[in-house]
Symmetry: C2
Subunit: 255 residues, 2 copies
């Protein structure tokens, strides 16, 4: 497909080269930032624009990889009716597109991207949606060409998955940050926790997390819980998080 890619953030930095490597033609890149735009357009060997008015109107599909809050204002400024336009967001629906655009959709990669870390396309589930059957076929074909795992879902289901992703990715990562902070109190390297973290997720690759739960809150060991809360006395926010999650574990197992 002939593609115009819009954005040069983490998602575009992974999606662009992936699409190109599967034989698609990226004819143009839009980026507000000249620096990251040039970096990515150099990689994709395509032209670069920084104004929606200058978008090439000939592409088969326009893929928007911008932050949620700027999508609507961006698409308003496109001066023509795109053949097909999609965004890559987990938490926006099709309603971000103006009514004059009839061929719209979503292609949301359910993965966490950093510019510096390579990810196997096999590990990216794509969640897709479209305004009509014909476009869904096109989007599915595009998604299938770059990943073996493609789910067709409604906006609501995608939003629910995005919310779950916040819990398992963003919040989990923050728990790691809090743990690192605790260890720094005694200059203990974070490295000491890495094997445990790895095993924590290995366990749930085949098992159900509800089954693999362990720890003081799971056992109802209130002596240890009290001790931990005391150790957290100088970290009020961490203490509240400790309490809340422990309560939630307790309620989950109803002892």
């Amino acid at each position: 497909m002939k593609i115009v890619l819009i954005g040069a953030g983490n998602v575009a930095f992974h999606l662009g080269p992936l699409l190109k490597s599967k034989g698609h033609q990226i004819i143009q890149l839009y980026s507000r930032s000249k620096k990251t735009g040039l970096k990515l357009s150099g990689k994709l060997k395509c032209s670069l624009v920084n104004d929606p008015k200058k978008l090439n109107s000939e592409a088969d599909i326009y893929i928007i990889a911008l932050r949620d809050e700027v999508i609507t204002s961006f698409v308003k400024n496109i001066p023509f009716i795109p053949n097909l336009i999609v965004h890559t967001s987990g938490s926006s629906g099709l309603d971000v597109f103006p009514a004059r655009m009839k061929n719209t959709g979503v292609i949301y990669p359910l993965q966490t991207f950093s510019k510096s870390i390579k990810i196997s396309p096999k590990k990216i589930p794509f969640l897709i949606e479209a305004g009509n059957r014909k476009d869904l076929v096109k989007i599915r074909k595009l998604a299938k060409s770059i990943s073996p795992v493609v789910y067709e879902l409604s906006s609501y289901d995608r939003e629910l998955i995005h919310l779950s992703a916040v819990f398992v990715n963003n919040f989990t990562n923050h728990l790691f940050t809090l743990a690192e902070k605790l260890l720094q109190l005694r200059k203990i390297p974070f490295d000491i926790l890495r094997p445990l973290i790895m095993e924590t997720v290995q366990k749930i690759q085949s098992d159900n997390p509800k089954k693999t739960q362990t720890g003081p809150a799971r056992r109802g060991d209130s002596a240890i819980i009290m001790k931990h809360l005391k150790m957290l006395k100088d970290f009020p926010q961490m203490k509240v998080i400790y309490k809340q999650i422990s309560n939630s574990i307790r309620d989950e197992y109803e002892y």
Copy 2:
């Protein structure tokens, strides 16, 4: 070393066979439960007792792998002075042993164990401590014989690490459980999140979690945060956890 192993829970089920495979001699197993006791003593090919009074007094070391709250009452009932006695707990100190026992220590495997899941010994950091220098040498030698990663730490440091482990293991696992619960609302399989979870921890194997943080709270995207809180209206506890962790992320990056 000639070892008496005390307990037949998750830790003993991994530690026993590991010690045996490295050439140590397990001469006796203690277990209150006959069923799990027989299972493990069969594996270790050693005798089984269910009364501390019947412990063999000839071992070089007694390794206690019991729950924290029963250690003290158990050791009180040992009718002799052990050559060397250690426990395997992250959150108990040396003070669980009575004063009459002079040769005491800790050998705490910082890992999450399930009976059904095998773990490479390379992935188990052992945190050790002893009441005196001579015993520390013995315990270090034992630990080094079964794992390449051994840290000598005070009880306080070990407790701090145990608290950090609760955050990265127990709490993380519970976040996975909460995410699964959300997905069940729309019968979406948990499988859809597994690649993301894997990548979340892959990222921090080489990088620092503070650096890899992403998501609405990190970006300060209050529109998405409000939307998510609304979606959680029927899950008050999850809503509080969402709010607290989001606040904590916001404070961490001070925007």
